[in-house]
């Protein structure tokens, strides 16, 4: 796509062509940063739910003045000759039904879904809610897609879109525990409906283990920001920064590393965080592994707002220790979270590790993991060194 962009910019400037981009991406700021980086001068639209139902990217389609498709395998070398300079006859072609770019009547869409109880009507309501209300009505969108799936359990689009909604909510203050795991579960269900749907597959891989990663997903973000700054511009700020798995390079081998790391609290003497000063959440991607295969485990640790808890950044950093069951391997065994940039901070901390299931096993396996941290209650309040045991369950299929 970027390789094309120079040519396209010329046609756009000369008024010969309208270029319309559609970004298959949940986070609009990431698309904005990408467009800024490549100096894209044509409109880019935001399609977080794959409304277009594209089975992969990129897809370039040439559409004439009457709205008729003239090419679906567009080549840069022949675009001018075969499309831009060509006159097409609209004879015999029927126009598609135009859709108004105005806010749909959400109440009417809801009434129709409730009256007809049709899977399609519920899905349309969900789509309209996500696209027109964004995260503000994400609970309603979740409910609409759940209705769709209740009627039509094999609706892969609805599963994918429901997963997107859960992930959207996970990134807001309205999050519910397990929203991220629910997202991954529904993307996995979508993929089971159609394993060849490239967008769905990539969404799981984005958060999944390095062994199954085709490439790093968002490693371009840092490069883009650096190059934009070097041009004297200020790069679009990202609300949701890419996390470990979204930046990780693929790895073709699972290296559990040297065995010289030891448990930082082998006897379990550190006091437990019984008050839940820190709230822990675990997400396993993919949700089920085959014997001998790998999952990526995301652990998020958030200071509990109810206690006005915050990290003490002047003490030792947060550590996470993982003890895999017999025959399983964890990589790494010990993780350390970066400290906040001031003495007291309350940001969520995300740690990720990978686990390889033992060969020839099946069932549900429990990993013993625990976090050690310095946490303080309220501003200027008591600080404690605490341990929290974090149950991680890995389900393995034969």
């Amino acid at each position: 796509m970027p390789a094309w962009n120079k040519e396209l910019q010329k046609y756009v400037r000369d008024g010969k062509l309208v270029v319309l981009g559609i970004a298959q991406e949940q986070h609009p700021q990431r698309s904005r940063l990408f467009a800024q980086w490549h100096r894209i001068n044509w409109p880019v639209l935001h399609d977080p739910i794959n409304l277009m139902q594209v089975g992969g990217v990129p897809v370039v389609v040439a559409i004439d003045e009457e709205g008729i498709v003239r090419a679906t395998r567009v080549k840069a070398e022949t675009l001018e000759r075969d499309f831009i300079n060509k006159t097409f006859s609209a004879e015999g072609a029927k126009a598609s039904k135009p859709v108004k770019a105005t806010r749909p009547d959400l109440a009417a869409l809801r009434r129709r879904a409730e009256q007809t109880r049709s899977a399609g009507a519920w899905r349309e309501l969900g789509d309209a809610l996500v696209l027109w209300e964004d995260v503000a009505k994400v609970d309603d969108a979740i409910e609409a897609y759940r209705q769709t799936i209740g009627i039509r359990p094999d609706d892969g689009d609805a599963h994918f879109r429901l997963g997107v909604c859960y992930r959207m909510r996970y990134e807001t203050e309205q999050r519910e525990p397990a929203d991220f795991q629910r997202a991954v579960d529904h993307w996995t269900k979508a993929r089971a409906v159609n394993p060849n749907q490239y967008i769905w597959r990539r969404r799981i891989e984005q958060y999944g283990p390095r062994l199954t990663k085709p490439y790093p997903f968002y490693d371009w973000v840092q490069t883009a920001a650096r190059e934009i700054k070097a041009r004297g511009e200020s790069p679009v700020a990202l609300e949701t920064l890419p996390t470990g798995s979204e930046l990780a390079q693929p790895d073709r081998s699972f290296d559990a590393g040297a065995g010289d790391v030891t448990s930082p609290d082998p006897q379990g003497r550190v006091f437990r965080d019984t008050q839940k000063m820190i709230l822990a959440e675990v997400t396993v991607v993919p949700p089920r592994a085959k014997a001998g295969e790998t999952v990526r485990v995301h652990v998020s640790l958030r200071p509990n707002g109810a206690h006005k808890a915050h990290w003490n950044n002047e003490a030792e950093p947060l550590r996470l220790w993982i003890d895999p069951p017999e025959g399983f391997e964890a990589q790494p065994r010990l993780l350390t979270a970066p400290q906040g940039d001031s003495p007291e901070t309350a940001e969520p901390r995300r740690l990720e590790f990978e686990v390889r299931a033992a060969a020839e096993v099946s069932g549900t396996f429990k990993l013993n993991a625990y976090a050690l941290y310095y946490v303080c209650e309220d501003a200027g309040g008591t600080c404690m060194f605490l341990r929290q045991d974090i149950p991680v369950t890995v389900t393995v299929d034969k």
């Binding site: 559609i22 990431r30 639209l45 935001h46 709205g67 679906t72 899977a119 490693d219």
Partner: protein, 66 residues
């Protein structure tokens, strides 16, 4: 970032994206009208439909940054 093979537009069904319940996916066919759709812009959330460009040649690019 990746270099990716284009998807195979193998499906014979034409889905009207607006109001579609068709599960077959995006499959524009040469000589047929492209289904209309409305989506918000990434920068300003200004809503854009394909049909508002009637009378102009359009190159529609579905892409991803990843």
């Amino acid at each position: 970032m990746q270099n990716l093979n284009l998807l195979t537009l193998a499906c014979g069904c034409v889905c009207a994206i607006a109001g579609s319940t068709c599960a077959a996916g995006y499959s524009p066919r040469v000589g047929e009208p492209h289904p209309d759709f409305v989506l918000p812009g990434i920068a300003d959330r200004k809503y854009v439909s394909l049909s508002q460009f009637r009378g102009q040649k359009v190159l529609l690019i579905n892409f991803a940054s990843w």
